[in-house]
């Protein structure tokens, strides 16, 4: 059906995303593309979908070589893609989104009846139970994804690329998606399923191509390979996701105290609805939840980035409302931001200049007006070594580094102040296992040293293995709270994430 041979893709910043990748698809299979974050899966799919042009290699569609220059080009060749972040117009209806761009017209105007029936028709044909008259902004994430799939099918996609489709779904929604995918397969569609979750691949995929570090490590029949073997191929060594975790030794001091926190976003939508909690030194409070349920707003309020909140936040007993971000940081609070490129670093400045942005004011690194360049350079070299940041020199621009190394720069900077409180928002998202493990170990070490840690993460394994207490956010509230993390199952957590189960009483949220 489709062959991609020896694809090489180098990005403008010199990052080699694909070094030598080959992929071969058969008609009517669900083919897993498996690999760690940063292994080059998304890049390969961008090449296939015409978003990126390869630097080397060829693509054969049904035996004939093709050059795919743009997504329009890919669509006309029968290739459809569902992106991780949906590309839908929220204010339009489901039907309008499906027909967008291939709109049936009556003269100058959209033929609404025809559009509606076309959308309904395709939904029925594929057994998707959707009301196409609803506005996209009103439907849940799982349905949005179905709309995306229908959109691709409506454009005649024979090959369907799904980029980490389960990342935003709850376990229940995932099961529903899988039923649908199997149906599509029976109708003769070929599906590329990108994931790094092995159990999902075991469940529905026929074959799997495993990628590591921009190379393909081979294609296997899923039935013939164990998850252990897959993970070994993916990571290159055995990884234990279970950490050696010392018993939690709580200090007496509540380092972070939040009472009745309520936040509305700039559009006036309620994002955090009356939350209260405490964090003591020596523990990790995990915050789980489907993205967009108030986690970002919570972190922004805790770190002083957003002052428009009601309620009270105090760090080490001090109300942070009147304090500037610099003053809050001076209370020994570190923050690993959610989006490392948007607010975690200055890509066009050197590693050195990125490593001391939070402490250039300290007497160690500057006098009254001048920076102490020698001290800064010495410290930069130390941090680069200690955190094993792979770079050509401290003068290299941060944007030139790989995602994992950029994250290490950020973590090195935030941890080098020896903080008492760490707010880590998605600290290991999109980075290689080695770097992720390193960061997790550091978080645990800080906890053991008496630091209060808040860990917001979409990675459930991470949440389970690190948290001492665990909160689940749903629509701006804690829908669940667990003090005994070891006895919580993924299913139970999923039900809280989805809002099916809501805890009426949150026991142990505050220390009083």
């Amino acid at each position: 059906m489709l062959q991609m041979n020896h694809i090489m893709k180098i990005y403008g910043n010199g990052v080699v995303a694909n070094e030598d990748v080959s992929l071969e698809l058969r008609r009517g299979e669900i083919h897993a593309l498996l690999g760690e974050n940063g292994a080059g899966k998304s890049t390969l799919m961008k090449v296939l979908f015409g978003i990126e042009m390869p630097d080397q290699g060829e693509i054969l569609l049904k035996g004939a070589p093709v050059t795919i220059r743009s997504p329009q080009n890919a669509i006309s060749l029968g290739i459809g893609m569902v992106h991780q972040h949906f590309m839908l117009v929220p204010s339009l209806t489901v039907a309008e989104n499906i027909i967008l761009g291939v709109t049936p017209k009556k003269g100058l105007f959209i033929d609404r009846d025809k559009a509606l029936s076309a959308a309904e028709g395709i939904a029925r044909e594929y057994n998707f139970d959707i009301d196409v008259r609803q506005r996209v902004e009103e439907i849940p994430v799982g349905i949005k994804q179905k709309v995306e799939i229908l959109k691709a099918l409506y454009r005649g996609a024979e090959i369907l690329i799904l980029d980490e489709p389960t990342a935003v779904l709850t376990p229940q929604e995932t099961d529903e998606l899988f039923v649908q995918l199997v149906q599509l397969k029976k109708k003769g569609h070929t599906i590329i399923f990108i994931s790094h979750k092995l159990d999902e691949i075991k469940k529905i995929c026929d074959r799997a191509t495993i990628m590591r570090n921009g190379r393909s490590m081979g294609t296997y029949e899923v039935a013939d390979i164990t998850t252990q073997e897959m993970s070994k191929l993916m990571v290159g060594r055995e990884v234990s996701l279970q950490f050696e975790k010392n018993a939690c030794r709580l200090s007496d001091q509540v380092l972070l105290r939040v009472r009745n926190l309520t936040v509305h976003n700039s559009q006036g939508v309620l994002k955090i609805d009356d939350i209260s909690f405490d964090v003591k030194g020596g523990e990790i409070l995990g915050i789980a939840g489907v993205e967009g349920n108030g986690q970002t707003e919570l972190v922004d309020a805790l770190t002083g980035l957003n002052k428009k909140y009601r309620g009270e936040i105090s760090v080490k007993g001090k109300d942070i409302r009147p304090l500037s971000i610099a003053q809050i940081r001076d209370l020994s609070l570190a923050h690993i931001p959610e989006d490392r490129m948007a607010s975690g670093c200055a890509g066009n400045l050197s590693i050195r200049e990125n490593l001391f942005s939070n402490q250039y004011r300290s007497p160690e690194f500057s006098g009254k007006q001048f920076l102490k360049m020698k001290a800064i350079e010495r410290r930069s070299d130390e941090l680069i070594q200690e955190y094993k940041i792979k770079c050509s020199s401290r003068r290299q621009n941060v944007a030139m580094l790989s995602g994992g190394n950029i994250q290490k720069v950020i973590v090195a900077r935030e941890f080098s102040t020896d903080p008492d409180i760490i707010i880590a928002n998605q600290p290991t998202r999109g980075i290689d296992v080695g770097a992720a493990e390193f960061i997790r170990q550091r978080l645990l070490a800080f906890r053991d040293a008496g630091c209060a840690v808040i860990l917001v993460s979409a990675d459930l394994t991470e949440i389970f293995s690190l948290s001492d207490r665990l909160a689940v956010m749903y629509k701006g509230k804690f829908a669940g709270f667990f003090t005994d993390v070891a006895n919580v199952s993924e299913e139970e957590l999923g039900q809280h994430m989805l809002g099916i189960k809501k805890a009426e009483v949150l026991e142990g949220v505050v220390y009083e």
């Binding site: 910043n13 500037s324 971000i325 200049e353 050509s392």
Partner: protein
Amino acid sequence: MNSVKKFDILRMFLSVLVALALSFLLIFVLSEEPVEAIKNLVIGPFSSRRNMGSVIESMIPLIFTGTGICIMFSANQINLSAEGAFQIGGLAASCVAIYFTADILSPLAALLLAGLIGALFSVVPAILKITTSASEMVSSLMINYVALYFGTYMLNNIIADPRASSASYELCPASELPVLVSGTRIHLGLIVALLVAVFGYFFLYKTKTGYELRLTGVNEAFARYSGVNIVKVIVSSQLIGGFIAGLGGGVEMLSPIYTRFNWTTLTGYGWDAIIISTLAKNNPLYVPFAALFLAYLRTGASIMARRTDVTLDIVQITQGIIIILVVAEQFLSRYRHKLIAREAKAALSGEEVA
């Protein structure tokens, strides 16, 4: 990455060369005596002591406005008020120099006031941005005309010398900056200008405030997250940039070139500063070189215009093409990508060997 950096510098020179080549081509099309014209343009500036002097002398105001713009642009504040600050700085210095005649103190006071007025002038768009989120680019463009017409108002009504036509009273001799090289008009302002460029470099790259400024310029969200006071950055960058541009206006006015204030149009040094900061990549240390290049081109063009049938405007075209080529990231981007790809591949095979 090294060869890519080298390539970026090479690309800059190539842009300049392409622009010059296109200008030469235009001269060939337009002129009756193209060879003579080009000869005057290229060699003219070296033809006499006076001409060489005029290159250096016209470089001075460019260094001031160029450095001022570098500082504001480094903070990603696209404030174009260097033009007006220069104008109003010149006016302020003239006013002092007309009425205050004390030796040494007169030029010092004049220059200090020129800088302060320039700073206050350039900070207006910054304050508008902070209080009303007005784009500093638009408001600074507009405010330049306020400087111009305020200057002509002062010139016509307050400091006009009835015996001269549209010129102020004479500036007192005590205020004039001394000439450094006899036979030219190269004056003390050159030293001041070079000191300002060095100051700009140290400020941006070695001080806390400069670091905050560059951090904000590259990624404002990151600067805020790191605890930088963004409002302070916006204000201080434009205060300092405006001070330097205003000081430049003062220096120019007190130079031997002028004996009276007579600016009734904008001087254009503020606009030229944009090409200078572009060529210098916002690093004040490179500003004198960029200014030298532009001054050379200007002097050559004016010699050419005097001696042949080609007009001065040709330089504007050259400048325009240079800016477009330097700023156009896609210019030679394919070649750049190939270079990056080659380096990355080389690094890969190097790893395998090791």
